[in-house]
Every structure is written in structure tokens, then in C-alpha cells.
Symmetry: none
Subunit: 225 residues, 2 copies
DNA sequence: ACATATTTTAAGGTTTTTTTCAGAATGATA
DNA sequence: TATCATTCTGAAAAAAACCTTAAAATATGT
């Protein structure tokens, strides 16, 4: 398990490194945003621990570059004060979890460990796709500043699509997973919900699109414009 | 099962080796393109995992040497970033599957496993013929940079032709497989679809042609010019 | 029970796919 | 070469799949 620690306070950085290495993780530590982006481009990490206050590029800038490059590595953000707006910013910017300084060591390892669970059974708070992030706890769909609430079924459909971005999700699969295998739901139900989701994604000014491949199914993609 | 890992990032290489050996595969790891070609010439592998960015010879060059030597070992390409053109290149150059870095471990093993299924029941994501490759999931037909979407029936016809490039596929077989044995479809339906396909293949500037043998059927071939 | 939010249903519109058909082109045969 | 059968192709019609929206029906919370 490879972890990147991005934290300019060297004392803290060393401490975190120590803690994680004791748990058997392999860690790289960097001390500014630009170097972090370089490292992330070069090597595959399982988790990135990212401070917000950083020289050169700050945490949010790093985050948006990373997500912008289509890299979905789980990110644990370290926010200085407990300012609510920072937490919210971190999550809307595509982080998977955040922790407010000062924090408890046990708390810290627990969060990292949660993020290293292999995907699928990963306990994530947030599911990222493109510039969108779906908060799995609150059903909020966010893109940069904006955010909308998804209804239960909208949420389930979005989760299906964004959790398996490589595969094309058929209407049948959606019906089975969202409405239930023995339901009466028709293709039109799915179509209606895809339409609802598209409207909300458009409202968020996201670059994500839900593409239809006739007779096969739906698949999310990131558009160019 | 013998697997060759061609990846110059030693950390990643070791990780992949570990993963595959845990699953019971025997792995060799090499760190540059030339050595890879040597190994492949010497020993028979069941799957080759091939990075694109490599010292001495890059992934594409290795791929074309291997295929040029008439070696058909399934190849899983690792492309950095999700640059679409790289994916397309990998597939058109004769790879059997690709994976975008960074990737999920489960995803990786699943792909390798898919490629080690004994041929015939091989689960392929892509069907190659000449300079064309047909994405079996998305119904995209690609040739170098370009790519077009095939409709359901176009796709089925193309699949029939390219999956059995040695045999001449009769109209009857096509009708049975694409339209269904009890359908009303006439020979002209087949002719129309062959025409659609030819137009799209021409649009892609491919060297593949669909040849007609009077009163018998159709067969794909690679033209000289 | 009321207001609010969610889900279902249905109808009309749009787009894509498929079929049809007629004329042109090609190939086989005498 | 003339004739006939087969195949090719483009345009248009028909069908199917999909999208969107509004309104009706349900569900949920206060």
C-alpha cells in the first residue's frame, strides 16, 4: 500500500509518516503542492493525505488538478481550523474525507485505513466522477460551488453509473438494482430518471454527460467543452 | 500460467508481480522494451502486461515487433492517463485490452484473468482484424485515430465477419445470427448492412475490405494500398 | 390533515436504426 | 457482346428507441 503525504509542517509530516509506516504502509512525503502533483502523475498511490495550507499550490489546487487529470485516488484532506466552509469545500472539490487539525492519532489511522479498503467494499463518503462528486451519505451531488440534492432513486441510478464508469449499465441492470428484480418498472421509468439526472447535472454546469448507446445502455463520460 | 510484466516503474512492477503471484501465476518482470522482446522470443507466455512508456523501445514498438513476428499472445496494455488517443493506438496496434493508470487492483486481476481463459472461450473486450478493432462493449469500430459508432445490427454483422476471418460467411448465416432464424429478412437486408459497414470502414481510412464471393458470401480481407 | 417531496404514468416529440425499393453497377455465361 | 442474375448503393419511408415534460398518484414529514 503506497501513501503520499502532502504536508509542509515537517514535524507533523514525519509524525504521520511514522504512524503509517508502523501500520505497514509505504509512504512518500512531499512538502509543497507542485511536487505533490508531480509525484501523483508519476506513481500510483492508494491514498493521498493532503493538507490545505501549502506552499506553491494549495491543497484545493492540487485536488482539482488531480481530479481534473481523471485520477480517482482516495484523498484525505487535512483542514486547519474547523471552519465548516473548508470542510464543505474539501468535499465539493472531490476529496473523499477530511480531518480537522488537531486530530487524534487513532482517528487519523482509522480514516486512512477506511480509504485503503479495496474498492467495492471501500467505505467511501464520496464517489467521484469527472468534476462531479456524489456524497454517499447525504445524497448531495456536487460540482465546484454548486450542489443539488438527489432523491433516493436518482441517487441509486447515479451511484450505479459512477461506481462502474467503465462498464455500460443496461436498463435491465438499473431496474434490478434500483427498482428491484421483481418490480413492474418499465424502460420508461429508467428513461425518466436518466432525464432527471441529466437536468441536475446540467444545472451544476458539470462537464459530465450521461451517454446512451442504443440497445445497450448508459455510460457516463466527461465532455470536452 | 506464465506472465511477462513489462514495466519500468519497479515499485509498480513489484506490486503487479505480487498480485499475480498471489493468484498463482508465474511471473517474469523486465524493465525495458528490448529485453521484453528478447524474453518473448525465448519463452512462451500466456499473457503479456505491457506499459507504454518504456526505455529503449516503447510499448507500441514492442507490440508491433511481437505481432510482426506472428506471436499472438494476449497483451494487456497499461496506458498512462486516460488519453483517448493512447487507448485507441493500443487497440489498433493489436493489443487485446487496455487499462488506464492508475487502476484498481481488482480490475487489473480481472482483466488478466479474462485474457488467460483458454482461447475460444476467451472473454475479449476487443476484436481485432487488420488495422481495425471492434470494441465489443461499446460497439465502437476504430482504426488509428478515428472511430465510429456501429448500430446494433451493424455491430453484429461486423462481429460475425471479423470473429471468423477465415471462413466465408453466407447471407443465410448472417440472417440467422443477426436477424434471427424465424425472421422475414431478405438477402437485400444483408446487402444493405454490408454497404453501411463498408461506408464506415472507408470513412476510417482502413485497409480492410469486405469481399463478396458470388453466390457464397462475404469475407474480410486486408488490401495492399 | 396538510404541505411537500418523490415516483409513476402517459403523451408527444426527437433521434437513431432498420427496412424498403428502384436504378446502377458488376459479374457470369453463352 | 448480349443477356441474365446478382450485388451495390442512395434515398426515402417506416419502425423502434429514446427523451422530455406535465400531470396524476404515492409517499413522507410536520
Amino acid at each position: 500500500m503506497q501513501i503520499l503525504i502532502v504536508e509542509d509542517d515537517k514535524a507533523l509530516s514525519n509524525a504521520l509518516k511514522q504512524i503509517l509506516e508502523d501500520k505497514g504502509y509505504f509512504c512518500d512525503a512531499v512538502y509543497d503542492g507542485r511536487t505533490a502533483v508531480e509525484y501523483i502523475g508519476l506513481k500510483r498511490y492508494d491514498v493521498i493525505v493532503l493538507d490545505i495550507m501549502l506552499p506553491v499550490l494549495n491543497g484545493f489546487e492540487v485536488l482539482s488538478k488531480v481530479r481534473g487529470a481523471g485520477i480517482g485516488t482516495p484523498i484525505l484532506m487535512l483542514t486547519a481550523r474547523s471552519a465548516v466552509s473548508d470542510k464543505v469545500d474539501a468535499l465539493t472539490a472531490g476529496a473523499d474525507d477530511y480531518l480537522t487539525k488537531p486530530f487524534d492519532i487513532e482517528e487519523f489511522s482509522a480514516r486512512v485505513q477506511a480509504l485503503t479498503r479495496r474498492r467495492g467494499e471501500l467505505i467511501m463518503n464520496v464517489l467521484n466522477y469527472g468534476d462531479l462528486s456524489l456524497n454517499l451519505k447525504t445524497s448531495e451531488l456536487m460540482c465546484r460551488e454548486k450542489s443539488v440534492h438527489l432523491s433516493y432513486k436518482e441517487f441509486k441510478v447515479a451511484e450505479m453509473l459512477f461506481a462502474n464508469p467503465d462498464m455500460i449499465v443496461t436498463k435491465e441492470i438499473l431496474i434490478n438494482n434500483v427498482w428491484g428484480a421483481d418490480s413492474e418498472a418499465t424502460d420508461n421509468n429508467v428513461e425518466a430518471y436518466i432525464s432527471f439526472l441529466r437536468r441536475k447535472i446540467k444545472f451544476l454546469d458539470s462537464r459530465v454527460r450521461i451517454k446512451n448507446i442504443q440497445k445497450i445502455g448508459y455510460k457516463p463520460e466527461v465532455s470536452d467543452d
